[in-house]
Symmetry: C2
Subunit: 368 residues, 2 copies
């Protein structure tokens, strides 16, 4: 089955659902707001939108964050129009994610979303029309020249497929520090192809002068053999290996499992954008995030053993919300509970030695 | 809770799901094809669409019929373009239904739908972009002047709300032959307001020269005291009344339950369209349907008792697929199994006396 059919965050609203474990992503969305403001102010001055402002949120997922992006953008346009004494346009918000995403869950939130918009902005506002457009953003999603503003938070690090030629990656399940060089190369090539394709597809859909804001995970150093960014995925791989001895997982199954995730370094991203040529890079901004999103003081904290366990539990829940569907499609669902118990234990031990941080980058682009 | 949140066909793919009990509606969709052909030929000659042909399917529901409408329209446009030696445009298909509709189920069918399009029409075709736009079609759903073609099958007989002032309707659950005149009037007024609103909303969304095809149930005679069109809903009401004596349903609950369904007569529809003035009525065509959609020879058949029971079972399944969510929201879900057993029995008895037929009308409209 193709990745576009399998890959989605954990559905529903249970303890390990993505809806309840997406604080890390929420931070990413909030950090993008100043860049959105800057770009939308520019759009208003250039008369890119008149009657209707069409926004696409690519990889919107399904949870309380989903409508937050739309809400932020509408607020900014409203504010910009008032500052410039312009009529507020109609809004078309197109939510995109893969075919398996839980769109029904988002749609249930819409009546309250529309009611709040009307209450906050007045009867004459908009109207705003929210739609869902399922499919992979590595293909075309929208008609030619139909979008004014594209937002994508926490998605471009997902590859369109697991790269080919990873046989030598052994029991590593990602581009780990212990992976051989050809594995790095395979992942890097796949990202290069995918991100180029992403830009090409959007260049046909975004109007001249339209904008994109992309937020995704990056690598803190160019050299992948010392990059710490996959520290937790390495521990998830270790947890799977532990289960071989217990007869719960087959070694051959681990050897054929690799996560379609790549964290590029800043230089790579810049090069691909310049090489593809459809968009101007306006801004690049990177910031650190705690790997336990529930812990705001994490970076400066000295962990006791007890605190490590609390953070490890949170990190395990967040990791499960993101990776469970992928793991189930490869290993079946019987391993999940034990796997994440082992993972939590590994993370707690690891937290006593180091405190991994994620590096997130937000880039702003304008269609040439 | 508002009707727009409650009303939806039975979700999933079980025995009483709408997905498996929508043959009646499928017939309606097939009967609309010749009218679609006629209208789309007209559109191509008037250059209404160039780069992208945007179609809305209002009240698309969720089942195998859902993508059939899109598929038919795409086939017609493809054919018309080939006949006129024109480039086939891109397609944007906007699927609309209420917030509770099972859109996830439709999205799972999309990868195969896209693959089949590519196979049948070739690599250079389209592309076609399918989106979902949830909400009530009695309000705005799309930006100004954004649609070329609107289709709605089996929906306009659903009212935006249960009419007010139905206290005198007693244990009738619809506009029954035994209902008092003020009940007829209340239903008629509600339809007048709703259908007018529907036309007003679409008149802002459809481009000048764009088209609509609406298919819905109508009444075979103007006089509602002799109209047979609610025969089965009368029997469903009777089945609820039976359950009072058994202590399973309270009389007061039946008295406060009325179905938001109205079947207009031809004259009413024509008058509202003329009075509202945004659309020209191009065509009106009515045809009969068997009340058991699985029985194609129903009309000319002499029923034996055994055959009646088979048809009654089918009719009961179809009725349950459509009305179960409404009934559950009012009476709870404990009554459903018994209610539809009783209903099936009533229908089987009734079929020995009469063979009710549904009258369905397809109208074609052009935006002035």
């Amino acid at each position: 089955m193709s990745l576009a059919k399998i890959l989605h965050m954990n559905i529903g609203d249970g303890e390990s659902s993505y809806a309840n474990n997406s604080m890390l992503q929420e931070t990413g969305i909030r950090k993008a707001v100043p860049f959105q403001k800057l770009l939308i102010k520019g759009l208003a001055n250039h008369n890119v939108f008149n009657d209707c402002f069409t926004v696409a949120d690519l990889g919107c997922s399904s949870g309380k964050n989903t409508l937050l992006v739309a809400s932020n953008i509408i607020d900014i346009v409203h504010e910009v129009c008032q500052e410039n004494d312009r009529k507020v346009p109609q809004f078309q918000v197109c939510l995109n994610d893969l075919f398996g995403n839980d769109f029904n869950n988002i749609f249930k939130l819409l009546p309250d979303f529309y009611a709040k918009l009307k209450k906050d902005k007045g009867e004459g506002f908009g109207p705003c029309f929210v739609s869902a457009v399922p499919g992979s953003f590595y293909g075309r999603l929208f008609p030619n020249q139909s979008l004014h503003f594209v937002n994508s938070a926490n998605c471009n690090h997902w590859l369109s497929q697991v790269p080919r030629g990873l046989e030598s990656n052994g029991s590593n399940i990602c581009m780990a520090r212990a992976s051989p060089p050809n594995v790095y190369q395979a992942y890097q090539n796949q990202f290069h192809n995918d991100f180029t394709k992403f830009l090409q597809m959007r260049s046909e859909e975004v109007v001249h002068g339209g904008s994109m804001i992309l937020t995704f995970f990056v690598r803190e150093v160019a050299d992948p053999t010392i990059a710490n960014c996959f520290a937790h995925l390495e521990l998830l791989g270790q947890s799977l290996v532990d289960m071989i001895k217990e007869g719960l997982v087959r070694e051959s199954d681990i050897n054929s499992f690799n996560v379609p995730l790549y964290f590029p370094c800043e230089e790579e991203v810049r090069n691909i954008i310049e090489y593809e040529r459809s968009f101007s890079l306006e801004n690049m901004n990177a910031y650190q995030l705690n790997s336990d999103p529930y812990d705001k003081d994490y970076i400066n904290m000295t962990d006791s053993g007890e605190l490590s366990q609390i953070h490890a539990k949170n990190i395990s829940k967040v990791t499960q919300a993101v990776f469970e569907p992928l793991l189930i499609s490869h290993f079946g669902n019987s391993i999940i509970d034990i796997l994440f118990k082992k993972f939590e234990k590994h993370v707690a031990e690891d937290l006593l030695k180091q405190k991994p941080k994620w590096l997130v980058m937000t880039i702003s682009l304008t269609k040439k």
